[in-house]
Amino acid sequence: MIVTKEKPIDEILEYVEPYGKILVVGCEGCTHPPRGLREARNMAMTVSMGLKLRGKSVEVRSTSIAKQCDLYNCKVALEPQIGDAEAILTMACSIGVGALSTLFPDIPVFPAQNTVFMGVEDRESDTFKEMCRACGDCLLGETFGICPIARCAKSLLNGPCGGPVDGMCEYKEYTNKCAWIEIYERAKKFNRLDLFKKLRLPRDRRLETPPRMLVGGELK
Protein backbone atom coordinates (compact mmCIF):
# COMPACT_ATOMS: atom_id res chain seq x y z
CA MET A 1 0.00 0.00 0.00
CA ILE A 2 0.92 3.66 -0.14
CA VAL A 3 2.05 4.55 3.35
CA THR A 4 1.37 8.05 4.64
CA LYS A 5 2.00 10.06 7.76
CA GLU A 6 -0.36 12.85 8.81
CA LYS A 7 0.98 16.38 8.42
CA PRO A 8 1.29 18.59 11.52
CA ILE A 9 -2.09 20.22 12.17
CA ASP A 10 -0.62 23.74 12.03
CA GLU A 11 0.60 23.14 8.50
CA ILE A 12 -2.88 21.90 7.51
CA LEU A 13 -4.55 24.93 9.13
CA GLU A 14 -2.21 27.27 7.25
CA TYR A 15 -3.36 25.73 3.98
CA VAL A 16 -7.10 25.96 4.57
CA GLU A 17 -7.30 29.12 6.65
CA PRO A 18 -8.15 31.46 3.74
CA TYR A 19 -11.30 29.48 2.81
CA GLY A 20 -14.78 29.64 4.28
CA LYS A 21 -16.17 26.32 3.04
CA ILE A 22 -13.94 23.29 3.27
CA LEU A 23 -14.63 19.72 2.21
CA VAL A 24 -12.52 17.02 3.88
CA VAL A 25 -12.36 13.89 1.73
CA GLY A 26 -11.30 10.51 3.11
CA CYS A 27 -10.00 7.65 0.99
CA GLU A 28 -10.88 4.01 1.52
CA GLY A 29 -8.17 2.75 -0.82
CA CYS A 30 -5.05 1.67 1.04
CA THR A 31 -6.58 1.14 4.44
CA HIS A 32 -3.64 1.43 6.80
CA PRO A 33 -2.81 3.79 8.29
CA PRO A 34 -6.54 4.46 8.04
CA ARG A 35 -7.62 7.66 6.37
CA GLY A 36 -11.27 6.90 5.58
CA LEU A 37 -14.57 8.35 6.70
CA ARG A 38 -13.91 8.27 10.42
CA GLU A 39 -10.56 9.98 10.02
CA ALA A 40 -12.08 12.53 7.63
CA ARG A 41 -14.73 13.36 10.25
CA ASN A 42 -12.16 13.75 12.99
CA MET A 43 -10.06 15.92 10.71
CA ALA A 44 -13.09 18.10 9.90
CA MET A 45 -13.67 18.62 13.61
CA THR A 46 -10.03 19.38 14.32
CA VAL A 47 -9.84 21.85 11.45
CA SER A 48 -13.02 23.57 12.50
CA MET A 49 -11.85 23.89 16.09
CA GLY A 50 -8.34 24.91 15.08
CA LEU A 51 -9.64 27.66 12.85
CA LYS A 52 -12.06 28.78 15.57
CA LEU A 53 -9.09 29.22 17.89
CA ARG A 54 -7.58 31.39 15.18
CA GLY A 55 -10.76 33.48 15.29
CA LYS A 56 -12.36 32.06 12.14
CA SER A 57 -15.74 30.49 11.79
CA VAL A 58 -15.85 28.17 8.78
CA GLU A 59 -18.09 25.46 7.39
CA VAL A 60 -16.27 22.12 7.28
CA ARG A 61 -17.97 19.09 5.78
CA SER A 62 -16.56 15.60 5.49
CA THR A 63 -17.03 12.61 3.21
CA SER A 64 -15.05 9.67 1.93
CA ILE A 65 -14.78 7.76 -1.34
CA ALA A 66 -13.41 4.40 -2.32
CA LYS A 67 -10.17 5.16 -4.16
CA GLN A 68 -8.98 8.63 -4.93
CA CYS A 69 -6.30 7.30 -7.28
CA ASP A 70 -9.03 6.35 -9.76
CA LEU A 71 -10.24 9.38 -11.72
CA TYR A 72 -13.45 7.69 -12.83
CA ASN A 73 -14.21 6.71 -9.28
CA CYS A 74 -13.60 10.24 -8.01
CA LYS A 75 -15.83 11.72 -10.66
CA VAL A 76 -18.75 9.41 -10.00
CA ALA A 77 -18.48 9.41 -6.22
CA LEU A 78 -17.27 12.88 -5.42
CA GLU A 79 -18.59 15.27 -8.04
CA PRO A 80 -22.16 15.18 -6.68
CA GLN A 81 -20.88 16.01 -3.21
CA ILE A 82 -18.65 19.00 -4.03
CA GLY A 83 -21.46 21.55 -3.73
CA ASP A 84 -20.13 25.01 -2.91
CA ALA A 85 -16.86 23.87 -1.37
CA GLU A 86 -14.14 26.52 -1.73
CA ALA A 87 -11.30 24.17 -0.83
CA ILE A 88 -10.77 20.44 -0.54
CA LEU A 89 -8.61 18.86 2.12
CA THR A 90 -7.87 15.27 1.23
CA MET A 91 -6.90 12.52 3.62
CA ALA A 92 -5.56 10.44 0.74
CA CYS A 93 -1.96 9.98 -0.28
CA SER A 94 -0.45 12.56 -2.61
CA ILE A 95 -1.83 10.63 -5.57
CA GLY A 96 -5.30 11.54 -4.32
CA VAL A 97 -4.28 15.19 -4.10
CA GLY A 98 -3.12 15.05 -7.71
CA ALA A 99 -6.22 13.21 -8.85
CA LEU A 100 -8.67 15.64 -7.25
CA SER A 101 -6.67 18.62 -8.55
CA THR A 102 -6.94 17.19 -12.06
CA LEU A 103 -10.64 16.55 -11.73
CA PHE A 104 -11.62 19.82 -10.04
CA PRO A 105 -9.32 22.42 -11.57
CA ASP A 106 -11.32 25.32 -10.11
CA ILE A 107 -10.98 24.26 -6.48
CA PRO A 108 -7.70 24.23 -4.59
CA VAL A 109 -6.92 20.80 -3.13
CA PHE A 110 -4.67 20.45 -0.09
CA PRO A 111 -2.95 17.40 1.40
CA ALA A 112 -3.46 16.27 4.97
CA GLN A 113 -0.76 13.63 4.62
CA ASN A 114 2.88 13.29 3.79
CA THR A 115 3.22 10.36 1.43
CA VAL A 116 6.23 8.43 2.61
CA PHE A 117 6.57 5.22 0.62
CA MET A 118 5.07 2.07 -0.83
CA GLY A 119 5.33 -0.72 1.63
CA VAL A 120 3.96 -3.43 3.81
CA GLU A 121 2.45 -3.25 7.24
CA ASP A 122 3.27 -5.38 10.23
CA ARG A 123 0.36 -4.74 12.56
CA GLU A 124 1.91 -6.53 15.51
CA SER A 125 4.84 -4.16 15.71
CA ASP A 126 3.01 -1.13 14.23
CA THR A 127 5.67 -0.99 11.54
CA PHE A 128 5.46 -0.03 7.90
CA LYS A 129 8.38 -1.00 5.74
CA GLU A 130 9.29 0.37 2.31
CA MET A 131 9.31 -2.44 -0.24
CA CYS A 132 9.38 -0.96 -3.75
CA ARG A 133 10.37 2.28 -5.45
CA ALA A 134 8.62 1.61 -8.73
CA CYS A 135 11.85 1.49 -10.72
CA GLY A 136 10.07 0.28 -13.84
CA ASP A 137 12.13 -2.87 -14.40
CA CYS A 138 11.50 -5.22 -11.51
CA LEU A 139 14.42 -7.27 -10.27
CA LEU A 140 12.57 -9.29 -7.66
CA GLY A 141 12.71 -12.34 -9.90
CA GLU A 142 16.45 -12.42 -9.28
CA THR A 143 16.51 -11.32 -5.67
CA PHE A 144 14.01 -13.61 -4.00
CA GLY A 145 11.48 -10.98 -3.03
CA ILE A 146 13.92 -8.50 -1.50
CA CYS A 147 14.06 -5.31 -3.50
CA PRO A 148 17.62 -4.05 -3.83
CA ILE A 149 16.36 -0.66 -4.92
CA ALA A 150 14.07 -0.08 -1.95
CA ARG A 151 15.80 -2.13 0.75
CA CYS A 152 19.48 -1.32 0.06
CA ALA A 153 20.46 2.15 1.27
CA LYS A 154 22.47 2.66 -1.92
CA SER A 155 20.01 0.91 -4.25
CA LEU A 156 22.87 -1.23 -5.52
CA LEU A 157 22.46 -3.80 -8.26
CA ASN A 158 25.72 -5.58 -7.44
CA GLY A 159 25.77 -5.59 -3.66
CA PRO A 160 26.68 -5.93 -0.93
CA CYS A 161 28.89 -2.88 -0.68
CA GLY A 162 31.86 -2.93 1.69
CA GLY A 163 29.62 -1.71 4.48
CA PRO A 164 27.66 -4.51 6.15
CA VAL A 165 28.81 -5.68 9.57
CA ASP A 166 27.28 -8.86 10.96
CA GLY A 167 24.66 -8.60 8.25
CA MET A 168 23.61 -5.08 9.21
CA CYS A 169 23.70 -2.04 6.90
CA GLU A 170 26.26 0.73 7.43
CA TYR A 171 23.59 3.39 6.95
CA LYS A 172 21.59 4.32 10.05
CA GLU A 173 24.19 2.84 12.34
CA TYR A 174 23.66 -0.84 11.70
CA THR A 175 20.01 -0.88 12.71
CA ASN A 176 18.69 -2.36 9.45
CA LYS A 177 19.53 -5.64 7.85
CA CYS A 178 21.73 -5.38 4.77
CA ALA A 179 19.41 -6.17 1.86
CA TRP A 180 22.20 -7.78 -0.11
CA ILE A 181 23.20 -10.10 2.70
CA GLU A 182 19.53 -11.10 2.91
CA ILE A 183 19.46 -11.66 -0.85
CA TYR A 184 22.61 -13.76 -0.54
CA GLU A 185 21.10 -15.84 2.27
CA ARG A 186 17.94 -16.52 0.31
CA ALA A 187 19.79 -17.27 -2.90
CA LYS A 188 21.94 -19.74 -1.00
CA LYS A 189 18.92 -21.35 0.60
CA PHE A 190 17.30 -21.85 -2.78
CA ASN A 191 20.56 -23.03 -4.25
CA ARG A 192 20.57 -20.11 -6.69
CA LEU A 193 23.86 -18.37 -5.97
CA ASP A 194 24.14 -18.04 -9.75
CA LEU A 195 21.53 -15.27 -9.49
CA PHE A 196 23.32 -13.60 -6.61
CA LYS A 197 26.62 -13.68 -8.48
CA LYS A 198 25.25 -12.23 -11.68
CA LEU A 199 26.95 -9.06 -12.89
CA ARG A 200 24.23 -6.50 -13.54
CA LEU A 201 25.16 -3.75 -15.98
CA PRO A 202 24.13 -0.10 -15.52
CA ARG A 203 20.41 0.50 -15.72
CA ASP A 204 18.50 2.68 -18.13
CA ARG A 205 17.55 5.43 -15.70
CA ARG A 206 14.91 6.77 -18.07
CA LEU A 207 12.66 3.99 -16.82
CA GLU A 208 12.58 5.64 -13.43
CA THR A 209 12.84 9.29 -14.39
CA PRO A 210 9.70 11.38 -13.81
CA PRO A 211 7.18 12.18 -15.05
CA ARG A 212 6.19 8.70 -16.19
CA MET A 213 3.03 7.59 -17.94
CA LEU A 214 1.67 4.28 -19.03
CA VAL A 215 -0.36 4.78 -22.18
CA GLY A 216 -2.21 1.78 -23.51
CA GLY A 217 0.30 -0.44 -21.72
CA GLU A 218 3.34 1.47 -23.02
CA LEU A 219 5.67 3.32 -20.67
CA LYS A 220 6.04 6.88 -21.91
Partner: protein, 306 residues
Amino acid sequence: MRIFSNLMKEIKEGHFVFTGELEPEKETDLHNTIKAAEELKGYVVACNVTDNPNSMAYISSLVASYLIQERTGMEAIYQLRCTDRNAAALTSDLLGACALGIRNVLALTGDHIGLGDYAKAKPVYDLDSAQLTYMIRKMVDEGVDLYGNKIHGDVRLHVGVAANPNCEPLEAEILKLARKVEAGAEFAQTQVIYDIERVKEFFEMMRSYGIKIPVLVGIFPLKSYGVAKFFDEHIAGVHVPEELMERITKAKDEPDKQKRKEKILEINLDFFIPFLKELKRTEAAGCHIMAVGYPEIIPPLTEAVK
Protein backbone atom coordinates in the same frame (compact mmCIF):
# COMPACT_ATOMS: atom_id res chain seq x y z
CA MET B 1 47.94 -6.62 -21.78
CA ARG B 2 49.45 -3.16 -21.83
CA ILE B 3 51.11 -1.76 -18.73
CA PHE B 4 50.64 1.88 -17.88
CA SER B 5 51.85 2.24 -14.32
CA ASN B 6 54.69 1.27 -12.00
CA LEU B 7 52.17 -0.36 -9.71
CA MET B 8 50.97 -2.71 -12.41
CA LYS B 9 54.50 -3.31 -13.66
CA GLU B 10 55.66 -4.39 -10.20
CA ILE B 11 52.61 -6.59 -9.72
CA LYS B 12 53.07 -8.23 -13.09
CA GLU B 13 56.74 -8.84 -12.42
CA GLY B 14 55.72 -10.71 -9.32
CA HIS B 15 57.27 -8.39 -6.74
CA PHE B 16 55.60 -8.15 -3.37
CA VAL B 17 54.40 -4.57 -3.61
CA PHE B 18 53.64 -1.98 -0.99
CA THR B 19 51.13 0.79 -1.45
CA GLY B 20 50.45 3.63 0.95
CA GLU B 21 47.56 5.91 1.63
CA LEU B 22 47.20 9.67 1.49
CA GLU B 23 44.14 11.41 2.79
CA PRO B 24 43.67 14.98 1.62
CA GLU B 25 41.07 16.76 3.71
CA LYS B 26 38.84 19.83 3.65
CA GLU B 27 41.67 22.06 2.52
CA THR B 28 43.09 23.89 -0.42
CA ASP B 29 46.85 23.81 0.01
CA LEU B 30 47.60 20.06 0.41
CA HIS B 31 50.72 20.90 2.37
CA ASN B 32 50.52 17.91 4.73
CA THR B 33 49.53 15.50 1.99
CA ILE B 34 52.45 16.52 -0.20
CA LYS B 35 54.80 16.22 2.76
CA ALA B 36 53.46 12.74 3.57
CA ALA B 37 53.88 11.71 -0.07
CA GLU B 38 57.52 12.84 0.04
CA GLU B 39 58.10 10.77 3.15
CA LEU B 40 56.73 7.61 1.59
CA LYS B 41 58.74 7.90 -1.59
CA GLY B 42 61.01 4.98 -2.17
CA TYR B 43 59.12 2.76 0.26
CA VAL B 44 55.84 2.27 -1.52
CA VAL B 45 55.30 1.96 -5.26
CA ALA B 46 52.15 4.06 -5.24
CA CYS B 47 49.73 5.75 -2.90
CA ASN B 48 45.96 5.70 -2.74
CA VAL B 49 44.50 9.17 -2.74
CA THR B 50 41.21 8.95 -0.90
CA ASP B 51 37.97 10.30 -2.33
CA ASN B 52 35.75 11.82 0.36
CA PRO B 53 36.57 9.14 2.96
CA ASN B 54 33.71 8.45 5.37
CA SER B 55 31.64 10.65 3.06
CA MET B 56 33.28 13.86 4.24
CA ALA B 57 33.21 16.53 1.53
CA TYR B 58 36.94 17.05 0.98
CA ILE B 59 39.13 18.39 -1.82
CA SER B 60 38.70 16.50 -5.10
CA SER B 61 40.78 13.32 -5.16
CA LEU B 62 41.44 13.91 -8.85
CA VAL B 63 43.06 17.27 -8.21
CA ALA B 64 44.95 15.89 -5.23
CA SER B 65 46.17 12.86 -7.21
CA TYR B 66 47.45 15.11 -9.95
CA LEU B 67 49.23 17.51 -7.61
CA ILE B 68 50.81 14.67 -5.65
CA GLN B 69 52.19 13.11 -8.84
CA GLU B 70 53.27 16.45 -10.22
CA ARG B 71 54.97 17.78 -7.11
CA THR B 72 56.47 14.65 -5.58
CA GLY B 73 56.68 12.05 -8.31
CA MET B 74 54.73 9.63 -6.11
CA GLU B 75 52.45 7.52 -8.28
CA ALA B 76 48.80 7.95 -7.39
CA ILE B 77 46.05 5.37 -7.10
CA TYR B 78 43.17 7.70 -7.70
CA GLN B 79 40.16 6.65 -5.65
CA LEU B 80 36.85 7.30 -7.30
CA ARG B 81 33.52 6.57 -5.67
CA CYS B 82 29.97 6.34 -6.94
CA THR B 83 28.37 8.09 -3.98
CA ASP B 84 28.74 11.59 -5.40
CA ARG B 85 28.69 11.32 -9.18
CA ASN B 86 26.50 9.89 -11.89
CA ALA B 87 27.86 7.93 -14.84
CA ALA B 88 28.44 11.07 -16.91
CA ALA B 89 30.38 12.85 -14.16
CA LEU B 90 32.45 9.72 -13.53
CA THR B 91 33.29 9.55 -17.24
CA SER B 92 34.34 13.21 -17.29
CA ASP B 93 36.58 12.76 -14.27
CA LEU B 94 38.16 9.64 -15.73
CA LEU B 95 38.94 11.39 -19.00
CA GLY B 96 40.40 14.23 -16.97
CA ALA B 97 42.48 11.78 -14.98
CA CYS B 98 43.94 10.33 -18.18
CA ALA B 99 44.78 13.79 -19.46
CA LEU B 100 46.56 14.55 -16.19
CA GLY B 101 48.72 11.44 -16.34
CA ILE B 102 46.95 9.40 -13.67
CA ARG B 103 47.34 5.72 -14.44
CA ASN B 104 45.69 3.82 -11.57
CA VAL B 105 42.12 4.19 -10.42
CA LEU B 106 40.39 2.44 -7.57
CA ALA B 107 36.70 1.99 -8.40
CA LEU B 108 34.64 2.24 -5.24
CA THR B 109 30.95 2.19 -4.47
CA GLY B 110 31.72 4.57 -1.61
CA ASP B 111 30.44 5.01 1.92
CA HIS B 112 26.86 6.13 2.20
CA ILE B 113 26.55 9.91 2.05
CA GLY B 114 24.62 9.75 5.33
CA LEU B 115 27.81 8.81 7.20
CA GLY B 116 29.62 12.08 6.66
CA ASP B 117 29.32 15.84 7.01
CA TYR B 118 27.01 16.20 4.00
CA ALA B 119 24.51 13.72 5.39
CA LYS B 120 21.59 15.72 3.95
CA ALA B 121 22.90 15.53 0.38
CA LYS B 122 21.59 13.15 -2.24
CA PRO B 123 23.32 9.77 -2.52
CA VAL B 124 23.87 9.14 -6.24
CA TYR B 125 24.91 5.51 -6.95
CA ASP B 126 23.96 5.72 -10.60
CA LEU B 127 26.66 3.04 -10.92
CA ASP B 128 28.21 0.74 -8.35
CA SER B 129 31.82 -0.38 -8.11
CA ALA B 130 31.33 -3.37 -10.43
CA GLN B 131 29.61 -1.23 -13.06
CA LEU B 132 32.22 1.50 -12.73
CA THR B 133 34.90 -1.14 -13.27
CA TYR B 134 33.04 -2.37 -16.34
CA MET B 135 32.80 1.16 -17.69
CA ILE B 136 36.49 1.91 -17.14
CA ARG B 137 37.52 -1.28 -18.90
CA LYS B 138 35.33 -0.38 -21.82
CA MET B 139 37.03 3.00 -22.02
CA VAL B 140 40.50 1.44 -21.81
CA ASP B 141 40.01 -1.63 -23.98
CA GLU B 142 37.67 -0.31 -26.64
CA GLY B 143 38.34 3.41 -26.56
CA VAL B 144 34.66 4.16 -26.13
CA ASP B 145 32.51 5.41 -23.28
CA LEU B 146 29.73 3.52 -21.52
CA TYR B 147 27.38 4.03 -24.46
CA GLY B 148 29.89 3.27 -27.18
CA ASN B 149 30.78 6.85 -28.13
CA LYS B 150 34.33 7.16 -29.37
CA ILE B 151 36.94 8.73 -27.11
CA HIS B 152 39.69 10.74 -28.80
CA GLY B 153 43.07 9.77 -27.45
CA ASP B 154 44.25 6.80 -25.45
CA VAL B 155 42.64 5.85 -22.18
CA ARG B 156 45.48 4.48 -20.11
CA LEU B 157 44.21 3.36 -16.75
CA HIS B 158 44.50 0.33 -14.53
CA VAL B 159 41.44 -0.36 -12.48
CA GLY B 160 41.49 -1.72 -8.97
CA VAL B 161 38.68 -2.57 -6.58
CA ALA B 162 38.19 -3.03 -2.87
CA ALA B 163 37.54 -6.29 -1.03
CA ASN B 164 36.72 -7.01 2.58
CA PRO B 165 38.01 -10.23 4.12
CA ASN B 166 36.27 -9.32 7.39
CA CYS B 167 32.87 -9.63 5.75
CA GLU B 168 30.54 -12.19 7.24
CA PRO B 169 29.41 -14.34 5.45
CA LEU B 170 32.67 -14.40 3.55
CA GLU B 171 31.15 -16.22 0.61
CA ALA B 172 28.96 -13.20 -0.19
CA GLU B 173 32.09 -11.06 -0.39
CA ILE B 174 33.96 -13.61 -2.49
CA LEU B 175 31.13 -13.86 -5.00
CA LYS B 176 30.97 -10.10 -5.17
CA LEU B 177 34.69 -9.98 -5.88
CA ALA B 178 34.08 -12.56 -8.62
CA ARG B 179 31.65 -10.10 -10.22
CA LYS B 180 34.20 -7.31 -10.11
CA VAL B 181 36.81 -9.56 -11.67
CA GLU B 182 34.31 -10.48 -14.36
CA ALA B 183 33.80 -6.76 -14.94
CA GLY B 184 37.55 -6.39 -15.54
CA ALA B 185 39.19 -5.45 -12.25
CA GLU B 186 42.98 -5.79 -12.44
CA PHE B 187 43.93 -5.64 -8.77
CA ALA B 188 42.21 -5.53 -5.40
CA GLN B 189 43.08 -3.85 -2.14
CA THR B 190 41.48 -5.08 1.02
CA GLN B 191 39.96 -3.48 4.03
CA VAL B 192 42.21 -3.45 7.10
CA ILE B 193 42.68 -6.88 8.60
CA TYR B 194 44.70 -8.04 11.61
CA ASP B 195 43.90 -11.72 11.48
CA ILE B 196 46.31 -13.57 9.20
CA GLU B 197 44.30 -16.78 9.48
CA ARG B 198 41.28 -14.98 8.10
CA VAL B 199 43.43 -13.68 5.25
CA LYS B 200 44.38 -17.27 4.43
CA GLU B 201 40.75 -18.32 4.57
CA PHE B 202 39.94 -15.51 2.16
CA PHE B 203 42.57 -16.66 -0.33
CA GLU B 204 41.48 -20.25 0.04
CA MET B 205 37.90 -19.37 -0.78
CA MET B 206 39.03 -17.23 -3.71
CA ARG B 207 40.93 -20.21 -4.99
CA SER B 208 38.02 -22.58 -4.57
CA TYR B 209 35.86 -20.22 -6.65
CA GLY B 210 38.60 -19.86 -9.25
CA ILE B 211 38.94 -16.11 -8.74
CA LYS B 212 42.23 -14.79 -10.00
CA ILE B 213 43.25 -11.25 -9.20
CA PRO B 214 46.31 -9.78 -7.47
CA VAL B 215 45.30 -8.80 -3.94
CA LEU B 216 47.04 -6.26 -1.73
CA VAL B 217 46.09 -6.87 1.86
CA GLY B 218 45.32 -3.80 3.96
CA ILE B 219 46.98 -3.14 7.30
CA PHE B 220 46.59 -0.28 9.73
CA PRO B 221 49.49 0.36 12.12
CA LEU B 222 48.43 2.01 15.36
CA LYS B 223 50.25 5.26 15.96
CA SER B 224 49.08 5.82 19.52
CA TYR B 225 46.80 4.50 22.21
CA GLY B 226 44.16 7.07 21.17
CA VAL B 227 44.23 5.93 17.54
CA ALA B 228 44.08 2.27 18.56
CA LYS B 229 41.15 2.80 20.88
CA PHE B 230 39.25 4.90 18.36
CA PHE B 231 39.91 2.38 15.64
CA ASP B 232 38.85 -0.54 17.78
CA GLU B 233 35.63 1.10 18.90
CA HIS B 234 34.56 3.00 15.82
CA ILE B 235 35.67 1.14 12.73
CA ALA B 236 32.83 -1.29 12.37
CA GLY B 237 33.71 -4.87 11.68
CA VAL B 238 37.44 -4.58 12.43
CA HIS B 239 38.93 -5.33 15.81
CA VAL B 240 42.43 -4.77 17.07
CA PRO B 241 43.66 -8.08 18.52
CA GLU B 242 43.48 -8.10 22.32
CA GLU B 243 47.15 -8.74 22.88
CA LEU B 244 48.19 -5.87 20.65
CA MET B 245 45.67 -3.58 22.32
CA GLU B 246 46.94 -4.56 25.75
CA ARG B 247 50.55 -3.78 24.89
CA ILE B 248 49.62 -0.42 23.44
CA THR B 249 47.48 0.37 26.47
CA LYS B 250 50.45 -0.38 28.72
CA ALA B 251 52.76 1.76 26.63
CA LYS B 252 50.58 4.81 27.10
CA ASP B 253 51.76 5.02 30.72
CA GLU B 254 55.33 5.79 29.65
CA PRO B 255 55.70 9.46 30.67
CA ASP B 256 58.55 10.34 28.30
CA LYS B 257 57.06 11.24 24.91
CA GLN B 258 60.01 10.13 22.83
CA LYS B 259 60.31 6.84 24.69
CA ARG B 260 56.59 6.27 24.35
CA LYS B 261 56.83 6.79 20.63
CA GLU B 262 59.68 4.35 20.35
CA LYS B 263 57.84 1.83 22.46
CA ILE B 264 54.73 2.03 20.29
CA LEU B 265 56.79 1.74 17.12
CA GLU B 266 58.41 -1.37 18.56
CA ILE B 267 55.03 -2.89 19.44
CA ASN B 268 53.77 -2.24 15.92
CA LEU B 269 56.86 -3.77 14.37
CA ASP B 270 56.58 -6.77 16.70
CA PHE B 271 53.10 -7.36 15.41
CA PHE B 272 53.33 -6.40 11.76
CA ILE B 273 56.71 -7.82 10.76
CA PRO B 274 55.65 -11.43 11.52
CA PHE B 275 52.26 -10.64 9.95
CA LEU B 276 53.96 -9.45 6.77
CA LYS B 277 56.37 -12.37 6.70
CA GLU B 278 53.42 -14.71 6.95
CA LEU B 279 51.53 -12.69 4.36
CA LYS B 280 54.41 -13.02 1.92
CA ARG B 281 53.95 -16.78 2.11
CA THR B 282 50.33 -16.51 0.96
CA GLU B 283 49.30 -15.60 -2.58
CA ALA B 284 49.00 -11.92 -1.61
CA ALA B 285 50.46 -9.65 -4.28
CA GLY B 286 51.41 -7.12 -1.69
CA CYS B 287 50.33 -5.01 1.21
CA HIS B 288 48.42 -1.78 1.38
CA ILE B 289 49.64 0.16 4.40
CA MET B 290 47.14 2.63 5.73
CA ALA B 291 49.33 4.73 7.94
CA VAL B 292 47.91 8.20 7.49
CA GLY B 293 49.79 10.46 9.91
CA TYR B 294 52.28 7.69 10.73
CA PRO B 295 54.82 7.69 7.90
CA GLU B 296 57.75 6.80 10.17
CA ILE B 297 56.49 3.21 10.46
CA ILE B 298 56.77 2.54 6.75
CA PRO B 299 60.56 2.42 6.26
CA PRO B 300 61.31 -0.10 9.04
CA LEU B 301 58.28 -2.16 8.09
CA THR B 302 59.02 -2.44 4.40
CA GLU B 303 62.77 -2.90 4.93
CA ALA B 304 62.18 -5.77 7.35
CA VAL B 305 60.41 -7.93 4.80
CA LYS B 306 62.36 -7.05 1.69
